[in-house]
Each structure stands twice: as C-alpha cells, then as structure tokens.
Symmetry: C2
Subunit: 272 residues, 2 copies
Amino acid sequence: MGSEKEFLQNYKLSDYERPSVTADVAAFMVSSGDKTDYRRNPENKLQILLIKRGGYPFKDMWALPGGFLQKGETVEECAMREIYEETDVMPVSIMPVGVFSAPDRDPRGWIISNAYVSIISEESVRQVGKDDASDAQWFSVSFERDGDIYHLNLTYGDTELKAVLAEEKSHFGRTEFRIVDSGRLAFDHASIIAEALSALRSEAKNYDTILDFLPEKFTLTAFQKVQETIMNVSVLPANFRRMVSSYVEETDEYVRGEGHRPAKLYRRKNNS
Amino acid sequence: MGSEKEFLQNYKLSDYERPSVTADVAAFMVSSGDKTDYRRNPENKLQILLIKRGGYPFKDMWALPGGFLQKGETVEECAMREIYEETDVMPVSIMPVGVFSAPDRDPRGWIISNAYVSIISEESVRQVGKDDASDAQWFSVSFERDGDIYHLNLTYGDTELKAVLAEEKSHFGRTEFRIVDSGRLAFDHASIIAEALSALRSEAKNYDTILDFLPEKFTLTAFQKVQETIMNVSVLPANFRRMVSSYVEETDEYVRGEGHRPAKLYRRKNNS
DNA sequence: CAAATAGTGTCTCTAAGACAATATCAC
DNA sequence: GTGATATTGTCTTAGAGACACTATTTG
C-alpha cells in the first residue's frame, strides 16, 4: 500500500487529448392551457424548455439548456444546476437519456454531451413567473410518427421549429434517431429531444414518474390528463381511477367553482 | 453564415480543465455448467468478465474491462472496442447504465466513467476459447438482497470477491447503490456492477433481450433457463412456452443423446 | 422399465378495457 | 333545468399462473 501511495504521488494523467464534457437537459412540463369555456376543463400541453443562443455557433437558433461540466461536481449535479440557473426551479427528478459523442457533433471541437430528461411541475414554474422577453422559453411539443419518419414540432408564439427524424435503431425499449432536418435546432439537439421524449414516454407507464409532474395536491382528472398528454393515449376515467388507486390517498379538500361537480383533491401515497 | 465560419476559425476551446473520459463495461454471459449426471441437465450460471489490474492504482485487484475514450470514436464504440480487445468477441448488444462522475471516484484524478451492460452469448466465447492464465476471467455472479443491504458475490475458482452495497435511491425502475464494502473490487466498480445488474434485470423481462444471450439455434428449455438465471425467478415450462411462442420459430433439428426426450431446436423469429 | 426432460391441454385468477348509471356543481 | 365533470359499479376479455397429463429418449 505504501507503493500505491508513492505511485499516486508521482502520477500525472497522461497528455492524451481529452474531450470537453457537457450536460444537456430536456426539461419537460405539462401546462394546463387557458380556460375557453367557463365549465369545460382546459386542454393540457406538453412543453419543453429551450434557450435561444446568443453567440456562435448556431447564433439565434434554439438549443437545450446545458453547459460544461465543472470540476468538483457530478454530471447529474451539472444538469440540475443548468436547469436551476435557467428556471430558478430545482427539478423534482432527472433521468439519464444517453451520451451523445459523435466526433463531429459540435463544430467547436471535441465535446460530448450527457443528455438528461427532467420533469418540472407546472406549479413551481408558475410561482417563479415567466419572462416573455427572456431567451429561455417553454415550447409546446408534438412528436408524431409517420411510417419510418418522425416529425418533431416545437412551437412558442410565432416561432415554429419543425425537425424531421428517422428511426435509427431500437434497443432496450428505447429508440435512437438520426436527424433528417434539424429544423433550426442547434447542434444535434433535435435527436436528443426525440430520444428524451422516447425515454420519457417509456417511463411514463410508471405512475410514480407522472406524479413528479404534479403539485402536492391534485385531482385524479389532472393526474390522468398529464399521463395522457405525455403518452399521447387516452384511458377511460373509471379504469384510470382504479389503476392509480394504490398510488394516491384522499384529502378532505375539493376544487370548487368550476361549473361542474367539484373534484376531490388527492395526494401521493408514499408507500412502496 | 459567413460570420459563423469566421467565428469557428478563430475559436479555441477555452483552457478550462477537462476530465478524462472512460467507458467501463459489465459484460455478462450465461454459461451452462458441466454435466454431473448423464441424464440431468446442467445448472446455468450468470457470469461477468473481470480483469485483474496489472498496475497501480488497485494493483492486483479485479476491475471491469474499460479504457479511455479516444479521439474520433463514440463512447459506445469505445465500450465495444474494450470488450473486443479482451474477449475477441464483438458484443451482440450494449446498453447504457449510467455515468459515474463523483469527483473522488478515481485516485489518479478527474476521470468520469460511462458504464455499459453488454450481453455475450456463451457460444461465441466457447469458440474463442478461454485462457486460464489470462488476467481476464469470467466470475460467477450472485446478487442477493437482505433488507436494505445487498450482497454481491463474485467467484472464480478460489477467488471470492464479496462486496456489500446499500440502496441509495430508486428512480425510473433503476436503483443506485452506495458501496459499503468494495470487496477487493477496484474503484467504484462494485456499485457499477450492482447498477448494471439492476438494469439488466429490469430489461430481462423483455424476451428480445434474453435472445441476445443465446446462440442462433437453441432449445426452449435453454431459453427459459437463461431467463431464470438472469432474473432469479422460476416459471412453469408450460407457461414459458406459451409466452415466448411469438418470439421463436421451429427448426427441424433436435438435440439428441441427452438421456431423455430430445428437444426441438428453435430460432429467433425476426418479426415486428 | 426407470428416470429424466419435452411438450400439450385446460382450468383458474387477476388486471385491464368497455360501458352504463349515478352524483354534484355553476350558471 | 342544462351541461359539464366526478365517481361508482359491473360485465367482458386477454393473459399469466397452476397443474394434470402425455410423449420420447438412453442406460
């Protein structure tokens, strides 16, 4: 053991070239739209946080929030820090999507990206407030399959980003995507977003994952709408209630004044 | 666009310190043990490939195969290359497990590891042949839960590595493990192996994943034994057959001379 | 024949899907 | 009352688990 100490004292990491390492985060939120009818419930939208790039390369194009790994932090911490810096919200949960390390993926040089999905509850963002002049904006997401081709459409106000991707390979329940048209998204971020969505959808079968999107107290209909928005499916309310019954517990509060029967508020049951 | 070109010509990645990046691979194989009884089928064992370290740090301790990312390759390619260099076998499939980037995980300095699970079919390794004097050996794996504590036991001949881990947090179907006792495994590899096993088990519910462990032609009993070995469960043969029936198709060959009714060989059906 | 595995048929049980019916509110 | 959502109950169906039974081989 003495000689291991000795070895380490003299050790110098060799001068092989090293890559720069970044963490990029696809941060998703499910937002309830505005009420159009006093008694009809609003539609939900899946949204993703994008940042308008201020400098080269890809100046004025939209990109995922992210940044370089700093010494002394883990990659997860870096990812959480980037989201916190952009939104003032600490994400509830974060999930690795994959490593993007194609040698030519960044025109500035050898930079590999660790991609994460993060889930942010609408309530926390609402409290912080959105700045319309900011370079960080929430885009509505649609991701549709059309044969072997996938269309990823991201919209915020008049800004529409339309990326086209092709299914590359599918392994372990997740799919890799090749960019056909990056649709004004910076770097390879179109494929990162596609894989992040694919990962999110395959996880969203798990009700615990969905619960991370919700505030502390919620109605079962809100719970259901969030899952339907993420998964892009629909379930009969009666069956949904039965299936989540072991994940939630009643409170004695109700949501009133909605123009229809008030809904009981539930909270997450934190058992197994 | 002219000015982006100009920007890139003058761009130099800033002199922030960069980490070294490695890929480490938990390569698993399911081996059929030796026959003890002329008519009884042999037991199966789940095995993992470990390398005895020749130099410091952790000299003479066992570690996962892995190595530094080289310029011009992706992290996946690096992981596959490392396995190929150690076994002469190109893995059928490879799955990301996570990024291990705790600042103090490697005494040599700032080195982050991208961990992968890889699945190797016994047949391909048999053909290449094993070298008993080699520093690369297949260890039998047992990973048992005991309350909040997990015991990871790896054995090869007289060599027994006994690591103890604690469940750190469980998110998205996967669990993170904190090392209580590394059991003579180098670096943080005990926790990488634990997480790799946890990831493998959660994927092994998918029959396609299991099929990657098998040779081209196999009996349904072999198929079942491999799944039972990985998942550490048991299923009634009748039900297993029914459940995999859509994944396989018959050949007209049989395995004879086993002291009991010959089993039909099947092959993977490559549909949907 | 004995011992072992290979393979088939069928009953049961459970969880998900379908759907009908009732409850309760704001206007 | 009307129109909307909230909530409950029950029938149906698909798939997994249990288990009894038959088939086929080698020593």
